[in-house]
């Protein structure tokens, strides 16, 4: 079916920013489907090297509504590979027009287990210690959580600025947990070259993001929280495939020292319409 849709309609560029954690106010175009695999690898002190992965399907339902499903898994050296759960998120653009600051509301339900290492957000005092537990024990911990984000985004003279405020709550117990993510990025060239090319500077975006936990509603603040700074580069080749890489540095004692994130994404233009044609 994927091949059928792809040959039916030209597959085009994913135009999202280079961030892994920070969301901008850019929505998926209506009818488009983006498929991405986002990975993170690291070797926590006292633990084994791991590779956490999230397979992402992002669909533009309306110009103001984007929905995404993630399937998470991980592999840990000397322990094995396992599926760790799923996430379903929705983003809603609030204002009809583009403004200096553009808010987007985000709501997510996640059903994952304690062995999840996709690290798609950092809240409360999430840190390196969460990455060292044995899979056989960690997988028995169920995490059914509701997460809300206020996403603020701006574009100014080719620069993209984004700020996210995160609140997460386990549906059964535990307090509200908070976190943040901020990012700034820019394409290497603002005007496009006249010819089709893979290595044109406008095909590259560079930026930096910073994210971390802010405790809970009972003990809000920076104490014993993890924070990361991550330069990031994205490259979109002429056929629409995007590659993103981000070396990530922990800047507090509880943070993992170093993580490497990398992703590949591909966007199918007007997938919804093409899929409907296939089934007619």
């Amino acid at each position: 079916m994927f091949a059928g849709v792809c040959t039916y309609h030209p597959c085009a560029t994913a135009a999202e920013g280079p961030f892994f954690i920070t969301y901008t106010h850019q929505m998926e175009e209506p009818g488009n489907l983006e498929i991405a695999i986002k990975n993170v690898t690291g070797k926590p002190a006292g633990g084994n090297r791991f590779l956490g992965s999230a397979l992402e399907f992002e669909y533009g339902v309306r110009a103001w509504w984007t929905t995404e499903v993630y399937l998470d898994g991980q592999a840990t050296a000397r322990e094995g590979t396992l599926f760790t759960g799923y996430r379903w998120e929705n983003r809603f653009r609030v204002l009809a027009r583009e403004h200096w600051i553009n808010p987007v509301l985000y709501v997510e339900f996640e059903n994952i287990n304690g062995a999840d290492k996709s690290l798609l957000e950092v809240v409360d005092n999430d840190g390196e210690a969460d990455l060292t537990g044995l899979n056989s024990e960690a997988r028995s911990e169920k995490k059914r959580e509701i997460e809300a984000k206020l996403i603020l985004g701006s574009h100014f003279r080719g620069w993209t600025f984004a700020e996210n405020f995160i609140a997460e709550k386990n549906v059964r117990h535990e307090p509200f947990e908070f976190g943040y993510a901020v990012g700034i990025s820019r394409p290497l060239a603002l005007a496009a070259r006249p010819d089709r090319c893979d290595f044109c500077p406008e095909n590259f975006q560079a930026g930096v993001e910073m994210y971390g936990g802010l405790g809970t509603h009972e003990r809000f603040g920076l104490r014993e929280t993890s924070h990361y700074v991550a330069p990031t580069v994205a490259w979109t080749v002429a056929n629409g495939t995007s590659f993103t890489v981000s070396p990530t540095f922990g800047i507090t004692e509880t943070s993992a020292r170093f993580l490497l994130r990398f992703a590949v994404s591909y966007e199918l233009n007007q997938f919804g319409r093409a899929a409907r044609h296939l089934f007619r």
Binding site: Q26, G31, N32, R93, E98, H155, G158, A191, R193, P194
Partner: protein, 127 residues
Amino acid sequence: MNGCRVLVLGVVVSLAAAAVWARVGTLVQQAPPKAQVLRNPFEEQDPARRAGAKLFARECAACHGHEGVGMSKAPPLNQAEVHEASPGALFWVLRNGSLKRGMPSFAHLPEAQRWQIITYLKTLKER
């Protein structure tokens, strides 16, 4: 009594919001006068037209069709309204889109790339 006031206020606010939401006219006609006077820095420049054609194929053709002939979901762009529109009005449309009509905002594209697309749009052959 307070409940009644809240209800009336709610109805008034809803009607006002609906009136704003349902503004009449095409997207180009909704561009404010301040936006309409903006000038295209790449006007009639051939390299910008070619770059715009490349960007159009990537960003716009899936909905508006190749060479802007239009498709079921999005109107044709090779029509008089686009030819006669001021570059500033087209720039405003690209920046804001229309959530109501399903046209996304292209504010994530740098301004120069949006002007390049407009340079190309102005060269589309009118039907």
